[in-house]
Symmetry: C2
Subunit: 481 residues, 2 copies
């Protein structure tokens, strides 16, 4: 949808510069490129401008001006999203508003178990600063060296510690948000308990910038878990892995912090990405679990892991296992998990999914979906792995090695259809943690009940009647005009 | 605001009966009384009728009919709310819609760590049924033998286990809600992770029935904590109690499940309510903490509590303590906490508050607020106790014993003003867990920023444009007309 000619593109840029200042506005294509291309490099788009405000007030000013000029806004954090929620689409009247310059940690209060941070702070920098005070912010994901906390909140990011600490939503005390009319919602409280009616901040968590721009966040801290036990275990099946999870959930109580499932192919893929990576377990078990228990203070984590592994190996649920004897060894076990991702990327364009079903149906679902893919796309390879304790797997599909780019696209499309057809029978979710963005909008809308659509539309109209915020993301509302 | 004459009251009742059936409708004053009087008996009101549907479809039918007749609806669960959110006010066109007959547990799936239950199920019945399957639903509050899960969700109830498991919001996977237009929002999934955009169910949690009627809930279960260690500890001050909490949070990690602060007066009050209750600790320490650690499986809870107490007593943070040696002894310790509440009730009408501030400021706040009350209401007695690990205290005020009813009311009013003035300086919350209802509406509205008011109004208009749902609760929107 092209609203304006190139002439007015130039006019917009002049107005943005004159009103917001040259310092804030990028408009050269080369400068804008990193903000207009997604994390995987699948999509490269363009924008009227990229705005890089330094303060909440500048964000508010930018929002008001864009609204006045008829421009819509795509908010962006670290641009590590996996569903094209933070890059502009083909529409010609979009600006990207990057929060990257709002990266200050405003306060870390260990005595209050809280911190306040601007949206553009890189997650790992926040985690490190918090760790220096002996505290811990549990959100942990592969992109943490690049993603920014505002984006994590906007997408309600998941990651490897969800089973213990919850999604990002559960780690948040408060938010500061610039609303589509340029007003500022000041909800940056660090109160642990505040039950004054409808909790407005919930609206913006997971909204992917469609209702406002998160500019700052207050987060919940826990004591730093200075004891960590990490084990890589070999099992007979995914079904046994789920049995093991149930057992661990009870035996290790609330001290289990990660439980990741991997197929044997994980090692091959990890080796393709990191040839020198040590693999300290035989690679011929049908299923693997990377498990972590952690804690602080008087609990004895090593002892707990030891007794747990002894019990489950004696019972035959776990066939083989290796326990990290040092932080380096633990890090190397996690590198297998990360290398598996890189290895998939090295094999070229492939289907990435992020689905969830009921935990009690997960093994059946994966078996059925993998069969469906094998039938629909002969020669392709399924890589099913992930946060099985949450009922969440990344059931990815690598097209046949010999497939040409167009064939790959076709195979990805067909495989996705096959998986989703099974998923729908299991009443699963097409997005357990990545969000909807623009990538999954079609699949999302196709499954949206009329009641939900009505509520989402009513909400959008109530909060962003001008349809300024992130058009085309999540739902295809009419653009502002 | 009287909309209609008594004649149309009769007409309404006839129409309700003829369209919904006699079985559903109560309209005799004596029958309606228990639904029109609040838990504490402070307010007795009246209603056009009390509707008691047996199914979601009947709720939807009732909502549509009320909307058609110009009646507004006050949803009610167990009617144990503390802020008059579930009893009608003086308005003449209100019906109470009680969920008490929708009390089926639809499903408990221990393998999935989930259960699905209708809104009218009594909390303790749900907890018991879940415990029979070896699982645990952590919501725990004094009213649990009477309150109903739908009301718990509508008020986002807190209770004694919040510090470990979170508020009700964090215990919920999904909701079924009848919306103000009579349509049904079917969000009863038990997926642990589902990140498909804006999380609509969050709107209804804590909305106290102002946006719809919760008819069923799917909840998150954890393994049953079959090991519990309970201790009652004597300390030198609230400040030391908070130090102890910080220490316990680190030393006992995520295994601490309760940490309740009580003043020495707790014992006097408990004895007034339960004269035979054993008090197994000297009653002359300035501060007490009732602390619980719990867990399942391979963790050794008794050992952990033992080592923790040894350390903190050696360091002098804890001056004296008693550890429950049996379930009966643990139960008796909790009876002190409950008896303290009953004892306050026995002393007659008094101020009950439910405030929170930053944990790091709690001791200062309580000292300052108690001084302010002592100055403003000489002869009154402050009873400050509660969930200090959450920064949440019930800073209650008992008027002077000799005060007449009118004086008591006056003293309560003055004491509340004194506390709130201090609370505002600390940027605290007037409702940490009880909600707003009608009781706190004035205090809530007085502190509401224009941006929040705008958002709440926009939300209400978007979802309940006819203003059918729970008028006068939380905010004073115009009634439907």
């Amino acid at each position: 949808m092209i609203h304006e000619t190139t002439a007015s593109m130039a006019e917009w840029r002049v107005k943005l510069r004159s009103r917001l200042g040259d310092d804030i506005v990028l408009s050269e294509s080369a400068d804008m490129l990193p903000y207009c291309r997604d994390w995987h490099g699948d999509v490269t788009s363009n924008a009227v401008a990229v705005l890089r405000p330094r303060s909440t007030e500048q964000v508010a000013q930018a929002v008001k001006l864009c609204s006045e000029l008829g421009l819509s806004i795509v908010p962006q954090g670290g641009n590590t999203g996996l569903v094209l929620g933070a890059v502009p689409d083909a529409d010609a009247n979009q600006v990207v508003l990057s929060l990257e310059r709002m990266n200050r940690i405003r306060q870390i209060d260990a005595d209050d178990f809280s911190a306040v941070v601007e949206a553009g702070c890189i997650l790992s920098e926040l985690k490190d600063a918090i760790a220096e005070k002996g505290m811990f912010f549990p959100l942990a994901l592969g992109a943490q060296g690049t993603c920014r906390i505002g984006g994590n909140v906007s997408t309600n990011a998941g990651g490897i510690n969800v089973l213990r600490y919850g999604m990002t939503r559960e780690l948040i005390f408060g938010l500061e948000v610039v609303l589509p009319d340029g007003s500022i919602f000041d909800g940056l409280s660090t109160l642990r308990k505040d039950n004054r009616g409808i909790d407005l901040k919930q609206l913006f968590i997971g909204a992917e910038g469609t209702l406002g721009i998160i500019t700052a966040v207050s987060v919940k801290l826990t004591p730093y878990p200075d004891q960590v036990a990490t084990a890589l275990l070999g099992l007979a099946s995914l079904d046994d892995a789920i049995k093991l999870f149930r057992r661990a959930r009870r035996d290790c109580c609330d001290l289990m912090s990660a439980f990741e499932f991997m197929p044997p192919l994980a090692f091959t893929l990890a080796k393709e990405a990191m040839p020198d990576l040590p693999i300290p377990i035989a690679a011929d078990y049908p299923a693997y679990v990377l498990m972590e228990i952690s804690g602080s203070g008087l609990v004895d984590i090593d002892d707990l892991m030891g007794r747990f592994l002894e019990a489950v190996m004696e019972e035959g649920i776990v066939l083989d296992g290796t326990l990290a004897a040092s932080q380096t060894q633990a890090r190397n076990l996690w590198l297998i998990r990360e290398g598996m991702n890189e290895g998939q990327a090295k094999r070229g364009m492939h289907l990435r999914t992020d689905v969830s079903v009921k935990l009690s149906q997960l093994a059946d679902f994966v078996a059925e979906a993998e069969r469906a893919v094998a039938e629909a796309v002969p020669g392709s390879t399924c890589v099913s792995y992930g946060h099985v304790g949450d009922g969440n797997v990344h059931l990815n599909v690598l097209p046949a090695a010999e497939a040409e780019p167009e064939q790959r696209l076709e195979q990805i499309y067909v495989a996705k259809g096959a998986i989703n057809a099974v998923l729908d029978r299991y009443q699963g979710s097409i997005s357990a943690e990545h969000g909807i963005g623009r990538l999954k909008r079609g699949d999302f809308e196709a499954r949206l009940s009329p009641v939900r659509r009505h509520l989402l539309t009513a909400l959008k109209q109530a909060i962003d009647p001008g349809m300024v915020m992130n058009p085309g993301c999540q739902l295809n509302f009419p653009a502002n005009s």
